[in-house]
Symmetry: C2
Amino acid sequence: MDEDVLYHLDLGTKTHNLPAMFGDVKFVCIGGSPNRMKAFALFMHKELRLEDAEEDMKDICAGTDRYCMYKIGPVLSISHGMGIPSISIMLHELIKLLYHARCCDVTIIRIGTSGGIGIAPGSVVITDEAVDSFFKPQFEQIILDNIVTRSTELDKELAEELLNCSKDISDFPTLTGHTMCTYDFYEGQGRLDGALCSFSREKGLDYLKRAYNAGVRNIEMESTVFAAMCRLCGLKAAVVCVTLLDRLECDQINFPHDVLVEYQKRPQRLISKFIKQRLGLRDQTS
Amino acid sequence: MDEDVLYHLDLGTKTHNLPAMFGDVKFVCIGGSPNRMKAFALFMHKELRLEDAEEDMKDICAGTDRYCMYKIGPVLSISHGMGIPSISIMLHELIKLLYHARCCDVTIIRIGTSGGIGIAPGSVVITDEAVDSFFKPQFEQIILDNIVTRSTELDKELAEELLNCSKDISDFPTLTGHTMCTYDFYEGQGRLDGALCSFSREKGLDYLKRAYNAGVRNIEMESTVFAAMCRLCGLKAAVVCVTLLDRLECDQINFPHDVLVEYQKRPQRLISKFIKQRLGLRDQTS
């Protein structure tokens, strides 16, 4: 191709010097909410004690409202919206960006929110296996009109390294477990409180308990396609999500705002610790 | 339920007086991009000649960054992000909102962007049938671990009314056709320019031509679940998308920014005309 337009990131090979802009990237952290990924960027700026002013940190994708992107030294922080299709568009264009920028040895981590199953709200789950609604570690990609099944295996060593990092953080529990990825927040996750519901509380609970028995500890909406695409493109990937509620107890997220905000910082704190350790920086906070 | 928290809209039955806020809503217009839906709100404010100042128009969902929402008299303008999962979360919560607010006779229209097949870029397609990647007018919803097939039939009279409105607008072509809804922008739509591609240009083109022969005139990523959910909940629904390129010619969207901006206004102009006609307002612009 003469030119590659990364349409949804508002970047391109002719309009931007991608190697100069991104060549030193070693860590890519992604999450659904643009505000949360901006907060993570500000947090990392402080943690890495970078010299440039915090005010200079600009949204690299400001020309589009599909995603936001911030660069903090060797760290990229990007939002991906909600659900498999939204994250897959971002990943296609991000992976092309890393290729055009000639980045190497990049580690990519999704830091998200999720519903827990049978664990205390506020727990952080490091995914050992991303599974679909049928508890299978696979992602079905429709290519033209064929269905292709892809493995959702994640990097085992990276997950272990993250679990080790978590041992120094004592004020919230971190565990490894399977993460179930669904196409929908309501009917697909056994919630009774959507606009449509065709099953009983009993049936919904039975499904969630079967998920628990299959090793699932949390549910979100992006992990399978994330794992599948990163694996095929040779990126070491991990999924680290905090749980905002225990789905065996309730359907609605109704903790006070400040509690939810603190929960959402937990994966960020773990990932900051991990990145600083990798960079050989001394830890000041935890 | 004692309280219903519409989590992703940052609204709730205990924290907000939903009937007072939304009881008079008759038209809901939705689209992927928050900036575009804000622009539509500002445009409708001018078109409906409302007396309150434009500056008073606030994002009703400002407390969350998942979606944005503006109210312009009887019109709601809401963003839904990209893809089936993202729009489905918004629709569940919007439909509950309309129920709690005791709204009646609501018409809902998705005004979006899409890739065309065999039609000139800039054409506006009114969907007569939303079909999946296999050209079938159905949506497969996973409920717990069952797959339930739902009809994606849209309101025929509404589509006809919209087509009639379009006859007064002479500076761009509007047509009816099937709209194909995919889970992915790259591999699922036969694009060769994603990070992953396992088929030839020939195979991709063959698929797009088969889609054309099945009656598909444009491709986007939300119409099937939108049609299925609105139908089940008794909302009259339509999909009106502009095409940004002809997929038989190319994969990348690379028209100049101002051309794309003008294209994106086309569905808005059509819907404004339709709403003003329904409200019995005289048309000033077209």
